[in-house]
């Protein structure tokens, strides 16, 4: 069972005050802590579990404008066998189509039974790369996967639909799955684990190694372009309660009372 898992590093923006860059097309990332995309953590774990059960290999791949070696080292520490990073400045501002094109160039010459991506990236939230990649590779795919069972030359997966409904779908291998959170419990990696994995194979390529041309890369190649970012006006919706915690709690209690829930 040879599995390729696509991973992306994303900034943790949850508690941060975000500032839009001067050109208006991105946010300032200098101060932000970056880590593996939430969905990809589950995808890597799932790949490793299948390998541990069935044998084979796991290859982690990333396409990036930045130095993301630590991302791939983390995947190796989790149990991936090798990693491939394609680094090129021109990937900055790329849309899903360009990223999937680059991933396709890496993957098409590798042997694989399954390719995993996350359902979506926390930052851009496109939920596109896995599906486009399956299209380029001309293999069947399933998105929003919450369970995988490997059978003879095929996989049976559960896809999450809305509410509590799921559908069971069978795919002939090779196939692409986009992995949903909660499918497993990703293992923890320690600094020691990362150090131990330092000996594992890690390849860094550039775009010419992949035979990608200028026209296939970067902002000019992107079919969907970012025109500008803006921060939604703050406090548009809610009335912000001010005062000491005690005063606020009193206010909340009276709001609840007025709604007839705290009699």
């Amino acid at each position: 069972m040879d599995i390729i898992v696509c991973v992306k590093k994303v900034p943790d923006t949850r508690e941060a005050e975000l500032i839009i860059t001067k050109d208006g097309k991105d946010i300032e990332k200098g101060e932000l802590v970056c880590d593996i995309n939430e969905w990809d953590r589950y995808a890597v774990e799932e790949a490793i579990r299948l390998k541990e059960e069935l044998g084979g290999s796991v290859t982690a791949v990333a396409v990036t404008p930045d130095e993301d070696e630590d991302l791939l080292r983390k995947c190796l520490a989790m149990g991936a066998d090798r990693a491939i990073m394609v680094k090129d400045e021109s990937f900055r501002g790329s849309d899903a189509h360009v990223i999937a094109t680059a991933l396709h160039h890496i993957i098409k010459d590798l042997p694989f039974d399954l390719v995993f991506t996350g359902v979506q990236a926390e930052d851009d939230g496109y939920a596109q790369v896995g599906g486009i990649l399956a299209g380029f590779l001309k293999v069947p795919h399933a998105t929003l996967v919450t369970q995988i069972e490997v059978l003879e030359r095929k996989v049976q997966v559960h896809r999450e639909l809305e509410e509590a409904l799921m559908e069971v779908v069978e795919l002939d291998m090779p196939a692409v799955c986009t992995i949903q959170t909660g499918i497993n419990e990703p293992r923890y990696v320690s600094i020691m684990g990362i150090r131990k994995a330092a000996k594992k194979e890690m390849k860094t390529l550039n775009t010419s190694d992949l035979g990608l041309t200028e026209e296939e890369l970067g902002d000019s190649a992107s079919k969907v372009k970012i025109k500008g970012l803006s921060l939604p006006p703050s406090g548009k919706g809610a009335e912000i309660l001010k005062g000491s915690t005690g005063e606020i709690a009193t206010k909340v209690a009276s709001i609840l009372k007025s709604k007839g829930v705290l009699a």
Binding site: P11, T13, R14, E15, A16, I27, A96, A100, E122, D123, Y126, A127, Q128, G131, I132, A134, G135, P140, H141, A142, T143, Q156, R159, E162, E163, A164, L165, M166, E167, V168, V169, E170, L171, K223, V224, I226, L229, S230, L231, P232, S234, G235, K236, G237, A238, I240, L241, T245, G246, I248, A249, V252, A253, I255, L256, K259, G260, V261, L262, A263
Partner: protein, 327 residues
């Protein structure tokens, strides 16, 4: 004639809400572009759905085939790519749902067309589609653009466009032959299964105390539980809490959980991703506690409290106890 194409989404014999939302959006675009509003309905024995759709579209293209009985991204992709190639609509609208997420990217790849996903609103000109979408978990709005001269595809977020409701069109229903559907046997629908959700029924609660990743650790959950109890409410949560197995699935609010409408919803350490909002936005009063003043939850909340939830929870709990004792 120029055309706006909308994919009708249905499941188990029922048209899904997103279909009416997209038709409403499609109608607006069609009027502005002086285009025809066409909806495509792939399925099997769905004539009655086609008739329903004809009240809100100029033309319903009914593609009936036994192999289209259940959604299949491969089969749907062939149906749509054939139609799009021959009819050349300016834009094709698809829901950003479990169906659309499975279908749209592969379709765009096959057609070599630009695809804007999870759009909140669209503006169309002769040359260009401009869409507003959210990035960074809803903290930033992005305006994106692509050419529509050779057609384009957009997936639309559920619940952001209001459906028209009343009959606005008297469309024609045209039955068309499905394409050969070659190679679709590599992907096989087996069955639907319902996740086993036992335990509490959060939809019956008058007051819900919901926790998100801000609760930080499983060990802290009893604190929220005690608060819920003191308020006479029920404990619920966002998805990551269920993903981590800290609470059973029955407690999850959102698209892949439950939709709740309590009299009061208190969100503690929940950022307000749209998949969560969808499940609680119709609550009577929404009170959100979050450290981040820019958290998107404050856009749907009626009252916001910008502070550490660990400072707030015990104080509110004491207050509630005090009030109940006084009675």
């Amino acid at each position: 004639m120029r055309e706006i194409l909308v994919l009708a989404e249905h499941r188990k014999g029922v048209l899904r809400d997103i279909t009416w939302e997209m038709l409403s959006l499609g109608k607006e675009l069609a009027e502005k572009m002086e285009a025809q509003l066409t909806t495509v309905l792939p399925g099997y024995e769905v004539k009655s759905l086609a008739d329903e759709l004809s009240t809100q579209a100029d033309l319903v293209l009914l593609v009936e085939d036994e192999r289209l009985q259940n959604f299949s991204s491969m089969a749907y992709q062939q149906v749509l790519s054939t139609l799009i190639t021959t009819r050349k609509p300016i834009i094709t609208l698809i829901g950003h749902t479990a169906c659309g997420i499975d279908l749209a990217p592969g379709l765009a790849a096959a057609l070599g067309m630009p695809l804007a996903t999870d759009c909140l609103s669209l503006t169309l000109t002769e040359k260009e589609l401009t869409a507003v979408r959210q990035i960074y978990g809803g903290k930033v709005n992005a305006e994106v653009a692509c050419s529509c001269e050779k057609g384009c595809i957009a997936t639309i977020r559920a619940g952001v466009v209001s459906p028209w409701g009343e009959e606005t069109r008297k469309g024609k229903v045209e039955v068309i032959q499905s394409p050969s559907l070659e190679g679709i046997s590599r992907q096989r629908f087996i069955e639907y299964v319902e996740a086993a959700i036992g335990g509490v029924d959060i939809t019956q609660a008058d007051i819900i105390v919901a926790i998100g990743r801000g609760i930080q650790d499983k060990e802290n959950i009893p604190l929220a539980e005690e608060l819920a109890k003191a308020l006479g409410g029920t404990l619920a949560c966002s998805r990551p809490i269920v993903d981590k197995k800290w609470l059973p699935k029955a407690h999850q609010v959102g698209t892949s959980g439950k939709t709740v409408r309590p009299k009061a919803y208190i969100a503690l350490g929940i950022s307000g991703a749209f998949q969560h909002i969808v499940g609680m936005k119709d609550s009577g009063v929404i009170i959100a506690v979050n450290k981040d003043p820019r958290a998107p939850i404050f856009e749907v909340a009626d009252y916001g409290i910008v502070c550490d939830l660990f400072d707030f929870m015990p104080v509110l709990k004491e207050k509630a106890k005090e009030l109940l004792q006084r009675r």
